[in-house]
């Protein structure tokens, strides 16, 4: 029983972080109908920006509330910039070309970034894993069942941060002018352009938002797992992508549900079998979902118009 409860807690906390990354995939897919393969690697870059700034703060003496917020802000801003660059120079020129070209470009960027970061030239970190500084002191927040089940403070914090960011996104998409424009572009970008919506700008801002969310998720991952490495983006990014597909790609609440589900399934498989199976779980789950319900849990079947 206590095992089970602990797994639920761990699964939920992993799932909410996946959700942040999955939201980026789903938003970009919503406006562009493109799977942004490089999204996970943007997350990785954000984590490294967070790492670099955390080292700076550490040298100047410890981490306070303000410095933690600054770390988040810096890496989110850096990733937003990277997201803009990728959209502007790699995806925008290909927008009217066949979808395959954009897909290949996305894979190429992902590959170039994740392996580029494995070189140890200049500011590039090289292939060895680094330990993310302990920006939040790890301590139990709540213990249950005579101390057999622990809810850690960083789990609570990452849960709160993830929920906060998601709530902000929900507000932005459904309650603001920009959100309305975004939904219009997602529905039909040509008509949206005819109605005076600046589609290029909407798409660029969507990219930046998704990338910023990914950076936030990257820092939360780093706080959770401590170890960061250049290939973490591809790994976690693919899992988050699987989560987005499970929920029905393009569907915002679906991405969150899919991510939490994936976090729980992964945690249970690892908890009750062996951790070496961890990387196969997400893909096995994906193939199962695509077999049984290809449109995802919350997706709608749309007839293709010619």
């Amino acid at each position: 029983m206590s095992d089970f409860l602990q797994h639920v807690i761990n699964g939920l906390s992993a799932g909410t972080i996946y959700a942040l990354v999955a939201l980026g995939y789903t938003m970009v897919y919503g406006v562009l109908k493109l799977i942004n393969f490089a999204h996970g690697d943007v997350m990785m870059m954000g984590t490294y920006v967070g790492y670099a700034s955390a080292l700076q703060f550490k040298q100047r003496g410890g981490f306070g509330m303000a410095s933690v917020l600054a770390i988040f802000f810096l890496s989110m801003a850096a990733c937003a910039a990277v997201g803009w660059l990728i959209e502007r120079f790699a995806y925008r020129p290909l927008r009217e070309k066949p979808k395959l070209t954009a897909l290949i470009t996305a894979i190429g960027i992902s590959f170039a970034v994740s392996y580029g970061f494995q070189m140890d030239w200049g500011f590039l970190p090289g292939p060895n894993p680094r330990a993310f500084p302990e920006v939040i002191r790890r301590q139990p927040w709540l213990t249950l069942l005579d101390g057999e089940v622990t809810l850690w403070n960083w789990q609570v914090i990452s849960f709160a941060v993830a929920l906060g960011l998601m709530a902000g996104l929900q507000y932005l998409v459904f309650r603001t002018r920009f959100g309305r424009a975004m939904r219009a572009v997602s529905h039909d970008h040509r008509t949206a352009a005819l109605l005076g919506i600046h589609t290029d700008r909407v798409i660029a801002v969507t990219f930046m938002l998704g990338s910023a969310l990914a950076a936030g998720a990257g820092i939360l991952f780093a706080i959770k797992d401590v170890k960061i490495e250049p290939l973490m983006g591809t790994q976690q990014g693919l899992k988050a992508f699987v989560a987005a597909v499970i929920g029905g790609i393009g569907n915002v609440p679906g991405a969150v549900v899919g991510a939490v589900l994936l976090g729980l399934v992964e945690e249970f498989v690892v908890g009750y079998t062996a951790s070496s199976w961890r990387d196969a779980v997400a893909f096995g789950f994906l193939i199962l979902v695509l077999l049984l319900r290809p449109e995802g849990l919350f997706g709608r079947v749309t007839a293709e118009k010619v």
């Binding site: 897909l103 170039a112 199976w277 196969a280």
Partner: protein, 335 residues
């Protein structure tokens, strides 16, 4: 010229003769044989991936997974057969016979996997297929890592070294021949139709799922054979040889050569295998021992950038969909 009855057989016979001569001339030079075998395996991989990614317009990025299945199936089969001889045959001949059997087994195992993966996922659109094939490659790797009978993460060693220049390049030749025959048959026309417009192809009565699955199975078969060949000339196979990186290498070859052009795939496979080797030994010779390691570090990021630049500047790659054996300029394969 050639009597019609001989047309199918003649190229194979000629290739066999040429390869036997090559084997006789260069078979003794170890490093040359190793590099040439590597090139041959990559040619098989690129040509077979081109059947799916180029001719059919689907996008598979899990080719290394099929290669791994073939390598492990063939290697595992060959392992206990190392000292077995078929009675009534000279030792060399029986070795080659057993080698051919295990290659075939590797190919069939990979093809079976191709069928299992292809059947459900080829009903899906491009991006989903990409991710499912990637997932398949990862699952294969994780399964091998967790199976003690296959050597786990350490790998499988002691596979009899039966690979030869002749065997590798005969397989490469056959792969090219099959790819060419497919492209020029009505089968290939259907694949091209699917690539150009899937909905229109379906409306014209092409059973898109069946054709896609068949293309997938053929492609997986040759990837499996390539894996089997690989397993028989390297000292050890381990899951690390068949990662996403290997899949990407093959994808880069196909894209750079031109999606849909077998000639392009061959050329790109040859160049992209030889270039890093040449650069590495060049750096080692002229910039001091150890300088060649830079090549390995830079290779992957460069491949990634190459994909991006190709897509932005020349999405049709080197050859587009043209072939060396096309009759007239500007014309596709013969009708």
């Amino acid at each position: 010229m050639v009597p019609p009855g001989l047309r199918g057989v003649l190229p194979v016979v000629l290739a066999c003769l040429a390869l036997a001569a090559g084997q006789r001339l260069f078979g003794g030079q170890e490093f040359f044989v190793y590099v040439a075998s590597l090139v041959g395996v990559n040619v098989v991989l690129a040509v077979s991936l081109n059947v799916v990614n180029g001719m059919t317009g689907q996008f598979s990025i899990g080719h290394a997974g099929f290669m791994a299945v073939g390598a492990y199936a063939a290697g595992r089969l060959s392992l206990p057969l190392g000292d077995v001889a078929v009675s009534g045959l000279p030792v060399a001949a029986s070795d080659q016979l057993l080698f051919a059997v295990s290659l075939l087994a590797g190919g069939v195992a990979a093809a079976a996997c191709g069928f299992v993966v292809g059947l459900p996922s080829l009903r899906l659109k491009g991006d989903y297929l990409a991710i499912v094939t990637l997932g398949f490659g990862e699952i294969v790797r994780v399964i091998i890592q967790n199976t003690p009978a296959l050597g786990g993460a350490l790998g499988l060693s002691g596979i009899p070294q039966r690979g030869s220049l002749f065997a590798v390049w005969l397989c490469a030749f056959l792969a090219v021949l099959v790819a060419r025959r497919i492209a020029e048959s009505s089968h290939g026309r259907s694949l091209t139709a699917i690539r150009e417009d899937e909905v229109a192809a379906e409306a014209m009565g092409v059973n898109t799922t069946a054709y896609k699955v068949r293309a997938f199975v053929v492609s997986a078969f040759f990837a499996g054979v390539a894996g089997g060949l690989f397993a028989h000339f390297v000292p050890i196979i381990n899951p690390g040889s068949f990662t996403f990186v290997k899949s990407m290498e093959v994808v880069v070859m196909v894209v750079a050569g031109g999606l849909g052009s077998t000639t392009g795939s061959i050329l790109a496979a040859v160049v992209l295998t030889l270039l890093p080797e040449a650069l590495r030994s060049g750096f080692n010779r002229f910039a001091g021992e150890g300088a060649g390691a830079v090549v390995d570090q830079v290779r992957m990021p460069v491949y990634g950038l190459l994909l991006v630049v190709l897509m932005l500047a020349r999405p049709q790659g080197l050859f587009g969909t043209r072939e060396l054996w096309d009759r007239r300029k500007g014309q596709g394969a013969r009708p």
